[in-house]
């Protein structure tokens, strides 16, 4: 129940002046890993919806060693168990508990406290 990298993949900064506001940089002070049930079908279906390069970048920002991070999605991910397991771990088992997310365009920081990112903007930022 903490910010997983899957969630990170769907978050975007909507602050005034942010052209894309994506991907948010992760500055984590507390990261935990927690085992989750492996469902390959779920991972395969999610691959259509997420940006893999953003997962790669996020993994590096939370300190996952590069040898555990597939740099690209294979052509036929369904039949690549090794990839699916690595993707499962990265998307669902890494949890950011404390830290902040940073808007790539404006530098606006969004705090993460007790696993909850605060994406709220002030009135003058909308």
């Amino acid at each position: 129940m903490r910010m997983k990298l899957l969630t990170h993949n769907l978050l975007r900064s909507r602050v005034k002046g942010a052209a894309k506001g994506y991907p948010l940089a992760i500055h984590a002070t507390t990261v935990e890993t927690k085992e989750a049930d492996f469902n390959p079908t779920f991972i395969v279906r999610m691959l259509d919806r997420i940006q893999w390069p953003v997962v790669v970048q996020a993994a590096s920002q939370v300190g996952v060693s590069e040898d555990k991070v597939p740099q690209t999605v294979p052509n036929d991910p369904e039949s690549d168990q090794e990839f699916l397991k690595a993707a499962h771990h990265l998307l669902l088992e890494i949890e950011v508990i404390e830290g902040e997310l940073e808007c790539p365009d404006t530098g606006r920081a969004f705090p993460i406290k007790r696993g909850i990112p605060n994406m709220l903007l002030n009135e003058d930022e909308v």
């Binding site: 129940m1 910010m3 997983k4 899957l6 969630t7 993949n9 769907l10 978050l11 975007r12 909507r14 994506y22 989750a36 049930d37 469902n39 079908t41 779920f42 279906r45 999610m46 919806r49 997420i50 940006q51 007790r114 696993g115 909850i116 990112p117 605060n118 994406m119 709220l120 903007l121």
Partner: protein, 216 residues
């Protein structure tokens, strides 16, 4: 009964589950066949408050022997106490889900991850405009003119967040249906069609569960 009211915590500054909350759960249950038909993977509740409707759906999908998919649930609320309360409700029921503090769908707009199921029990009560968006509990119910001020900010955000086959379930008061039909809402969702899934009288209110999907 396939959906149940989950165990939840109470916090003074968070809207406590009431008739409208339970009606929303009943509406989801009444339409369960259609929810299962689209094989949802991402379910999002906006203005989750106590987090009871999304937790109820998550518990069903998790326990259902008919449904073998993993579902990711995300709850968004503007009130930090509500976000904590939602997280507490998820935890009490053993649901792994994500909680965000944010304003309506704003953090999720235009991302490549779209939601299959969107649930919203908006502030729908007809109030003076200045009561909309105040700190604390009033924000949970004060809807401004026609009870539509928050709803009308929310609806235009929906197409950018919902998958092609995605479904929006939203509570509304009879007074929110300007002109007595869904037209004034569909006006803001040009590619969508809508229907009333369930209606109920609660005290002096006539409440509806509305359902919106893209025209196929």
């Amino acid at each position: 009964m396939e959906l149940h009211v989950p165990e939840y915590g109470k916090v003074d500054s968070v809207y406590e589950p009431a008739e409208d909350t339970f009606l929303l759960i009943d509406g989801l249950e009444a339409d369960l066949k259609n929810i299962l038909a689209i094989k949802p993977q991402l379910c999002v509740e906006i203005g989750s408050g106590s987090g009871v409707p999304i937790t109820s759906l998550a518990c069903f999908l998790k326990d259902s022997s008919k449904y073998m998919q993993v579902v990711v649930c995300v709850a968004v609320d503007i009130n930090p106490d509500a976000v904590m309360c939602t997280q507490d409700t998820f935890q009490r029921n053993g649901i792994e889900a994500e909680c965000l503090q944010g304003d309506l769908l704003q953090p999720l707009i235009d991302r490549s991850i779209k939601a299959d199921i969107l649930i919203f029990n908006p502030p729908y009560v007809v109030t003076p405009s200045e009561e909309v968006g105040q700190e604390g509990l009033m924000a949970a119910w004060a809807g401004g003119a026609d009870g539509r001020e928050v709803i009308d900010r929310f609806l235009p955000q929906v197409p950018a967040v919902l998958t092609d086959s995605g479904i929006l379930y939203m509570i509304a008061l009879q007074e929110n249906l300007i002109g007595g039909s869904l037209d004034s809402m569909l006006h803001m969702l040009p590619e969508f069609e809508g229907e009333i899934v369930l209606s109920r009288r609660a005290g002096g209110e006539r409440l509806h569960v509305l359902k919106f999907v893209r025209r196929q």
